[in-house]
Each structure stands twice: as C-alpha cells, then as structure tokens.
Symmetry: C2
Subunit: 333 residues, 2 copies
Amino acid sequence: MGLDHAVTKPHEALAQHLAGKLDDVNILIRDRMASRHAPRIPEVTAHLVEAGGKRLRPMMTLAAADMCGYDGAFDVHLAATVEFIHTATLLHDDVVDESAQRRGRPTANLLWDNKSSVLVGDYLFARAFQLMVETGSLRVLDILSNASATIAEGEVLQLSAARDLRTDEDIYLQVVRGKTAALFSAATEVGGVIAGVPEAQINALFDYGDALGIAFQIVDDLLDYQGESKATGKNVGDDFRERKLTLPVIKAVAAASEDERAFWKRTIEKGDQREGDLEEALRLLDLHGALEQTRQDALGWAARARDAITSLPAHPVRDMLSDLSDYVVARVN
Amino acid sequence: MGLDHAVTKPHEALAQHLAGKLDDVNILIRDRMASRHAPRIPEVTAHLVEAGGKRLRPMMTLAAADMCGYDGAFDVHLAATVEFIHTATLLHDDVVDESAQRRGRPTANLLWDNKSSVLVGDYLFARAFQLMVETGSLRVLDILSNASATIAEGEVLQLSAARDLRTDEDIYLQVVRGKTAALFSAATEVGGVIAGVPEAQINALFDYGDALGIAFQIVDDLLDYQGESKATGKNVGDDFRERKLTLPVIKAVAAASEDERAFWKRTIEKGDQREGDLEEALRLLDLHGALEQTRQDALGWAARARDAITSLPAHPVRDMLSDLSDYVVARVN
C-alpha cells in the first residue's frame, strides 16, 4: 500500500480510532511472548512482532468488536491471538520458502536458524490458544481452530498446486483462503461473536474479512507482474522466477495455444528458465488480457467486501472498513 | 522396551483392556487426518501414524478415563488429540534435528521435504484443537494448550541448553518436561477431568503422567550410553556424537576436575571430537558414578509415578499403570 493520499489512509484512520485498544494489544503481545525459561523466544518473535507490521489482522478484530458495541476486554485477547497465529505462520513460512527477505529485513531463519523458527512458531501457536481459552468462548475456539486448519491445509495444497499447470481458479481460491483470507475472516467474525450480535451480522463480518483477504492477495499477485519494486518491496517477476502459479498465469494458461502451453510447462513446471522468459511471460499475460482480468477479479472481491457490511448498522468504523476495501485495490485501480 | 517377559507386558495388558476404545481412536485419527483439498497430508501423516507406535500417550488418556469410571465418548477424542499433538511434534522435530531415522524408518522430511513436515505438523496441531473444542470442555483446552506451550518452550530451551556446560539438572528437568513429560501428564490429567473426579484424583493422575514421562526420558538418555543398539534402535554414544548434554553428562560435568571439564568443553561445547573420545567419555561417566546415579534418578521417578496413584480407588487399570511405571525402568534395573 504505497500510494500517497492527501487524506488519512483508511488503515491509519482505523489505527487512530482504535489507538487505545491497539496499545493494549501490543502490551499483551509483549507480555505473552515472554518466556521465563527460554529467552530466545522473545528474541526471535520481537524481530517479527516489532518489525513495523500494520497490525492489520488484529485491527480487524478490534474494529469488528467496536462496531458491534462490544465493551469488554476480550477483543484485545483475540486481537493478540490473531497476531500470534499470523506471526507463527510467517515464521513457518520462512522455513518453508527458504525466503531470504521478509518486510525488507533478513528473515528469522537466517538470523537464527530453522530450528528456532519452527519451535518458536509452535510456541506462539500454543500461546494463541491459551489466549482464546481465557475468553471462555468455545465458539471463538471453534472458529480459530477451523481457521488454523484451513491455513495449514491451504499451505500444503500450495506445495502441490504451485507448479502444476492443472491448478485452476478454484484451487487458487482455496490456496488464497488458506494463505490470507481465512485469518482475515476469522478475525472479523470473532469480533462479532464476542459482541454477541445476531447471526446475520456475524455472517456479514465473516464475508467482509473473507472478500477483503482474497482481494488483498490477488492484488499482491497482480503487482508481482506489474508493480514497482519500490512500492512492493519485491522485484517484478519474483513469482515467475519462483515458479508460482498465481492467478494471472492461471488465466494465461487457460487461454494458451499449444506452443504457449509448452512455454509455461517449461518455465513453471520444469523450472527451465532462460534469458528473456520473463519478458515472454509478460507478453503472453498481456496477449490474453490476463492482468486486466485479474485486476477485475480483485475489484470484484473488494466490492463484495464493501457490500457485505452495508447491512450492518451505521457506524464510523463501518465506513472506515468500507474505505479499506477500496484502498486495498487502489494500488491497481 | 526390548525386554522379553514371560508374562504380558503392562502396555500390552493396557492395550488389551482398552482394545475397543483404541480401535475407535484409530478410526477417528484416520478420519481426521484426511484432507479433502490436500491429499499430501494423509500421505505424510500415515507414515508416522501407521508406523507402529505403541499409542502409549493416547492409551494414558483412555486408561485414566476408564479408571475414573468415565462412560462417555470424548476420551476417544482426547486420546486422538494427544496422538495428533505427539505426531505434530515428531514432524517438527524431524525438521529441527535433521535426523535421518525415526522408529527405524526414514523420517518424513527425507521422504518428503521440510515444507511438508512443518505444514502438516501445523495441520495436525489445528486438528487436535478442533477435536478438543468438540468435547466442549474449556478446562481440557486449558490443560492441553498449556502443555503445548510447555512442549515448545522446552524444545526451544533445549536448543540453547543442549551444548552449554552451564546446563544443570533443573534445566535438564525443564527440557525433559517439555520433550516428554508435559504430554504424558496432560494425557492422564484430561482423562480424569472429563470423568469429573475430585481434584485430588486429577492431581494424582497429573503426577503419575509427569513422573512416568520423566522416568521414560531419563531411561532413554541413560541407554544411549549403555544400551545395546538392537534394543534401542540407536547406537551407543549417539547423544555424545550429537553433543547433547543429557543427565549422565550433566552429573559427570558437575563432578569434573579441571582437565575433565576441558574435555567436555572441547567435545560437547566446541564439538571437536576425536578418535577415542567416546571411550574417554564413558570412562569419566563411570569414574564419577554418573550412570549409576542417573539410574537411581530414573528409579526414583518411576517410584513417584507408582506412589502417585496408590491413593486412587482400586481398579485393574490402576494396577496396570503401576506395573507400567516399573516396566519403564526395567530396562535399566
């Protein structure tokens, strides 16, 4: 989200509105990632937790609870829970992808080692469940354990789907729900659940988080082919070089001639990439309008997010969340 | 546990007594490790779950519930939960230790890869929490999320403690609780909790599992220096070669002369191991009676396990658990 607006950005407006609660979340996070016995734990997590993430996911929980008139303290617990689960998946992702950079810093598994990343991730995951237990809500535990299973399942699915040309848009959507949307939708849903609002409103909150998360990931995948390195912190074509079958390529493969299919097979499935292949990939994406179609999909999901919450009672936070859904796709609109 | 007894071994007696329930556990495990979207998941887990483990941990839960007169179905859920958590930690351990063998088979991360081991472990962990949520008991969730945190914390602690000569018996005990005892004690405790027995009995069940797990791990560490490869599936001195500071060495270091300390510093801390070093290590362990003291510690913990459950009402399963605590140390007695 590298655009500059004259007005306050929606996630900043949310952060201002929720500032007191966000402070409480940060205090709770620091408190719970401490370990009396294993000082390495906060060393590893501080690296990620303090790395200046936008706290977007915990903010979703706080925003949903606030909008639903919740006046207790467990929104803070659940926001910290969501951040812990997110941080645990990042730590495990770093091991998995052997990625050298995350948020522009060296990843934890280079600074430390694979061992620490796996085990500290496990620790945060356990701490997340402890926080949920404290809320006393079995429904919250149900929602977030289901989300955790969906996340892991999506990541495993990605292992087999990422380099397989048979991967279609349905499979892509399952992977994206696992990678991104499942935690967003759980984050907004539990905010409504602890506030005790009617089921229709809880469903609307789920739908908002789900669609926002999907829009967010599609924009990410699109920018990989057309963004500027400065704005995204990544280089154009990283996904291509890493042979990731993301939505633009899936669309281009679906429309491919026999020769084009052979190109994708060689570069993505076999990983035999040569000088000029990225340019050829970009040409094929353009030829079939794959980037434009992907952009339309992202806009469609953002619209679904916005529409999902129109039925909720009027509230300043509702308007901020609505703005956020526009903002997520503003980078490609 | 490679000894041959003319009589039935206690874990076999337990398995016979609990056969119907164990079948239910196996059915539930197979059902819940399936994944509609990611067929790789059961492929990876089947490797471990079907590998002929003794199901010792789930049996602890079934035994405790049975002994406490529980007549519901959630003991099966919790037994499967415990096995899932155990399997998840094995998968993550395989990544961590880069170990090439587990239970005499190639580890999952060689057959598959690190990615699958981490993510499938995460999936099983999430599935474990889903199973707990189904029991509807927040107390059970509290116990097992605490145990999960202790397990991860113990493993992280081991990373820093394993090759540090300052590691003392207190730290060793914390590591062992994390590696082994925390899941045993949680397994027996939740069996009592779902049966709704008085607190004193629940505490006794916890103490039994805790002491049994500690005895079990100490025996393992002792046999590494004096067992036969055939009985343990490991080679004598594996821990020494892997520079693991286990209880026998901790005792020898505590009693070491200056020269001996330099030897341990070189071989364990610095990892500079030469021809004849294992023989010298064994000589020093013998010189200070470290193996005999370790054996006495194991016997002491086994006795604590046995004593913990003497206060429970008479029951055939109680006698089997008592026999089991003797059996765990029979290999070194």
